[in-house]
Homo-oligomer: 108 residues x 4
């Protein structure tokens, strides 16, 4: 799946349910923050080592994957509302990062 296919599916899903009226920029940005909070909850009291151990359990891994997906979903809907092509935005950001942090000649 690429970013445009995801966007299309999400907009179709939303329109079939009449939810467009709730999808204002502020609501969608807040929604992304709500889901990111739920993602962070998985990392609240555990060390990095404990997290990496915990995700070996498929159920735990799926629970975290669901939260990551939810944030990406709301960001994709937000980009849609704002007329932002997320695919282009990601390519542009990768290019900017490459210019801002040039790779060393020899990998470290």
């Amino acid at each position: 799946m690429n970013f445009r296919e995801l966007e299309e599916k999400l907009v179709e899903f939303r329109d079939a349910r009449g939810w467009a009226k709730y999808h204002t920029p502020k609501n969608l940005a807040i929604s992304a923050a709500v889901e990111l909070g739920e993602l962070l909850e998985h990392f609240q009291w555990e060390s990095d080592g404990e997290i990496l151990e915990a995700v070996k359990d498929p159920a735990k891994r799926e629970a975290i994957a669901d939260e990551i997906a939810d944030v990406v979903i709301y960001l994709t809907l937000l980009a849609h509302e704002l007329g932002i092509d997320l695919d282009e935005a990601l390519k542009l950001k990768l290019r900017k990062n490459g210019e801002k942090y040039p790779a060393p000649e020899r990998p470290p």
Copy 2:
């Protein structure tokens, strides 16, 4: 670009700079929250109408697009660290959402 291509590019970029040691689950989740905070800053004092007007300006739209891209980038790197296939996670979440919220027979 699809999710796997994005993941590949990001991992390659990071490894060329020796940054893997900083990319722990907690650091990447915190980084996503930092960037989401920067995204929210664009919506802090403006109404939805003002935001939709403001993004007609290409510079403003690119600034917001950069922040959305940054959150997606850190979430993709986080998924990578946790052994989560983001493409699969998104497909699964779309399927779950479809089961949780069945579409009405006639679109509203």
Copy 3:
């Protein structure tokens, strides 16, 4: 209650339960973000007018108050861990804000 009394109560509560070991700076900062996400959830799909109407219901108001309190609690514990006197920090910030944004001669 002032900020020092709150800090004392929280540290006493925590020590009586042996939780100090979990209260690292990163864990507490993540916890504040988790609770802020739960606070934001109350504002996710409602307009400002609907929110102000909804908090007339005491149960709804208490639910939101609990989330605000939770964020303040984790920030107070974080300040404690970092050796920050939150009371002093607030006074200093108010002073800085007064210098950064001088009041107009006549109130608007």
Copy 4:
């Protein structure tokens, strides 16, 4: 300073500048999230040990204290808008926490 004094100062400061119209529930909640993002930025790439070392520097400690204060300030203004007495809310939450997590007979 106690919570009511902080609330009074903040409301007075805001009214002297004519900012009340911007202080809607959603704007204030988003503002708290923006400032929390800036707080998290201080913990993004450092370990807990490095953070505790870094805050020995007064300038670093003040920078972090400023961000904590900013989040508390916006939450106090949000509580004000919603008719929530933050002092009461904190006392109630402490009581609820005490009931939810009873202290062991002997401290651990």
